[in-house]
C-alpha cells in the first residue's frame, strides 16, 4: 500500500498515457470507417472484400503490428505513433463491418421517404442513415474500445504501454502491487469507457430509450 502512495505520480502518468493511447485510435478509427463503410454500401461489391480484409487484419497479433509498423512507416520502434497506428488499424478492421451492417439496416422505405421529402445524399447520410445505424455502430465501438484498452498494455513489451509498464516494473522488481494496480486500473478504465459509450448512445438515440441495446457476443 505504501508503494501506491509513494508512486501516485507515476501511476497517474501511466494512466494518462494509457487513456491517450487507447482512445485516440478509437476516434481516428471511427473517422476512417464511417466514410469507408458509406462507400462500401454505395458500391456494394466492395463490402465483402472489405469485411474479409478487416477480419484478416484483426487476426494479426498486436505485438507483431507494433513492431512491423515502424518498418513500414519509417518511425522509430519506440515511438507512440506505432501503437496509435496499430490500434487504429484494429479499430477500422473491426468497425468497418458494423458500419456496413448498420447502414444496411436502414429500412428501404425510410430511405425512400427521406429522398421523397428532398434530402440530398449527404444530408440523408447524416440526418437519417447514420442515426439509424448508431446502435449497430456502437456495438462495434464498445467491443473495440474495450479491446484497445487491454491491448495498449502489450506495448510495454517494447517499452511504451501506459499501465502495461507497471506490469514490467512489477515483474522486474518481483513485486505484485504495481501489477495488481495496473490490472485493476485497466479494468476500471474499460468499464468507465464502456459506460460512457452506453450513455452516449442513449443520448444519440432518444427514440430507442424503451429497449436496451444488446451487446454482441464475439
Amino acid at each position: 500500500m505504501t508503494w501506491i502512495g509513494d508512486n501516485l505520480g507515476l501511476i497517474w502518468e501511466q494512466l494518462r498515457e494509457h487513456i491517450y493511447l487507447a482512445i485516440i485510435p478509437v476516434i481516428l478509427g471511427l473517422i476512417i470507417s464511417v466514410p469507408l463503410g458509406y462507400v462500401a454500401t454505395r458500391y456494394s461489391w466492395l463490402a465483402n472484400p472489405l469485411i474479409a480484409f478487416g477480419g484478416l487484419l484483426y487476426s494479426l497479433p498486436s505485438i507483431a503490428l507494433f513492431i512491423v509498423i515502424p518498418a513500414v512507416l519509417g518511425t522509430k520502434v519506440l515511438s507512440t505513433i506505432n501503437i496509435i497506428v496499430a490500434l487504429t488499424i484494429y479499430t477500422v478492421s473491426l468497425l468497418i463491418r458494423n458500419v456496413i451492417d448498420g447502414l444496411r439496416s436502414v429500412p428501404p422505405d425510410v430511405r425512400q421517404s427521406a429522398i421523397a421529402v428532398g434530402y440530398g445524399s449527404m444530408h440523408r447520410l447524416i440526418a437519417v442513415d447514420l442515426p439509424i445505424a448508431v446502435p449497430v455502430i456502437f456495438a462495434g465501438l464498445r467491443v473495440v474500445t474495450v479491446a484497445n484498452i487491454s491491448m495498449v498494455s502489450v506495448g510495454a513489451v517494447i517499452g511504451i504501454g501506459g499501465l502495461g509498464e507497471l506490469f514490467t516494473l512489477g515483474f522486474q522488481k518481483d513485486f505484485l502491487t504495481p501489477v495488481v494496480v495496473g490490472v485493476v486500473l485497466s479494468l476500471a478504465l474499460a468499464l468507465v469507457a464502456d459506460l460512457i459509450l452506453v450513455s452516449l448512445q442513449r443520448v444519440l438515440t432518444p427514440w430507442a430509450r424503451v429497449s436496451t441495446p444488446v451487446a454482441e457476443v464475439a
Binding site: L56, S59, L60, P61, S62, I63, A64, L65, F66, I67, V68, A71, V77, V143, V146, A147, I149, S150, V152, S153, V154, A156, V157, I158, G159, G161, L163, G164, L166, F167, T168, G170, F171, D174, F175, L176, V179, V180, G182, V183, S186, L187, A190, L191, A215, V217, A218
Partner: protein, 216 residues
C-alpha cells in the same frame, strides 16, 4: 530482415526458427486444449440447461478487458516461478471466455421448436444435446475456439518475457540487442502463424458443419 530469414543457419538447431515455431505451437495447443476441456463442458451445460447464462455472457465481455500481460505477471508472481506454468495459466485464462461465451451462444441460438420436435420424437436430454444442439451450434462453437486460438497464439509471444522459448524470443532478444531485423522476423512469423491457424480453423468450421444446416 530477409538476410535473417534466408540465412539457413537461423532455421536449424535447438534455437532455430523451426524449433521456435514448434515451441510456440506447443504453448498454443497446450493452452488451447486445456481451455477447451474446461470451457466446453461448462458452456454446453449452460447452453443446454439455460441456467447461468448471465455468467457466460458477462464473463465473455469482461475478459476482453483483461490485459494479458498483467495476467501473466500476476501468474508469475503468485506461483512464484517463471516458466511454463504461469504462461499456461495466463493463456488458459484468455482462452476460456471466448469458448464459453460462444458455446453458450451457439446452443441458446437453437430454435426452441427444433428442440421440442426432438423431444416429441422421444429423444432424451443427452440425445438432444449431442444430436441436435451441438450440431446446430457447432459453427459458433468453432468460431469461439477460433478466436481463442488467435488470442492465445498472439499472446504466447509474451512467454519469452518469462524466459520461455517460442517466437517471442526473437522479439524480446531483438529488443534487448537493438537487433530490429530479428524483431521483425519474430513479429512476421507470429503473424503468419496466426493467419495459418485461422485458415485451418475456418476450414475445420466448413468441413464439420452439418449438411442439413448448409441447405437452409
Amino acid at each position: 530482415m530477409w538476410q535473417y530469414l534466408t540465412d539457413s543457419y537461423n532455421w536449424s538447431g535447438n534455437e532455430g526458427i523451426w524449433a521456435r515455431i514448434l515451441q510456440h505451437l506447443w504453448y498454443t495447443f497446450a493452452a488451447l486444449g486445456l481451455s477447451v476441456v474446461i470451457a466446453l463442458p461448462i458452456g454446453l451445460r449452460i447452453g443446454h440447461t439455460r441456467r447461468g447464462a448471465f455468467l457466460a455472457i458477462n464473463l465473455g465481455n469482461a475478459a476482453r478487458a483483461l490485459p494479458s500481460l498483467g495476467l501473466l505477471m500476476i501468474a508469475v508472481l503468485l506461483t512464484n516461478q517463471i516458466g511454463f506454468l504461469p504462461v499456461l495459466i495466463a493463456l488458459v485464462a484468455l482462452g476460456i471466455p471466448p469458448i464459453l461465451a460462444s458455446t453458450y451462444a451457439g446452443l441458446s441460438g437453437v430454435d426452441p421448436a427444433t428442440i421440442d420436435a426432438a423431444r416429441g420424437m422421444g429423444m432424451t436430454g443427452r440425445e438432444i444435446l449431442t444430436k441436435v444442439e451441438i450440431p446446430i451450434g457447432l459453427p459458433l462453437i468453432i468460431s469461439g475456439i477460433r478466436s481463442a486460438t488467435l488470442q492465445i497464439v498472439s499472446t504466447a509471444t509474451i512467454a519469452a518475457l518469462v524466459s520461455l522459448g517460442g517466437l517471442g524470443r526473437y522479439v524480446v532478444d531483438g529488443l534487448k540487442l537493438r537487433d530490429f531485423p530479428q524483431m521483425f522476423t519474430g513479429a512476421l512469423l507470429v503473424a503468419l502463424l496466426a493467419i495459418v491457424l485461422d485458415a485451418v480453423f475456418a476450414l475445420i468450421g466448413r468441413i464439420t458443419v452439418s449438411q442439413g444446416l448448409k441447405i437452409g
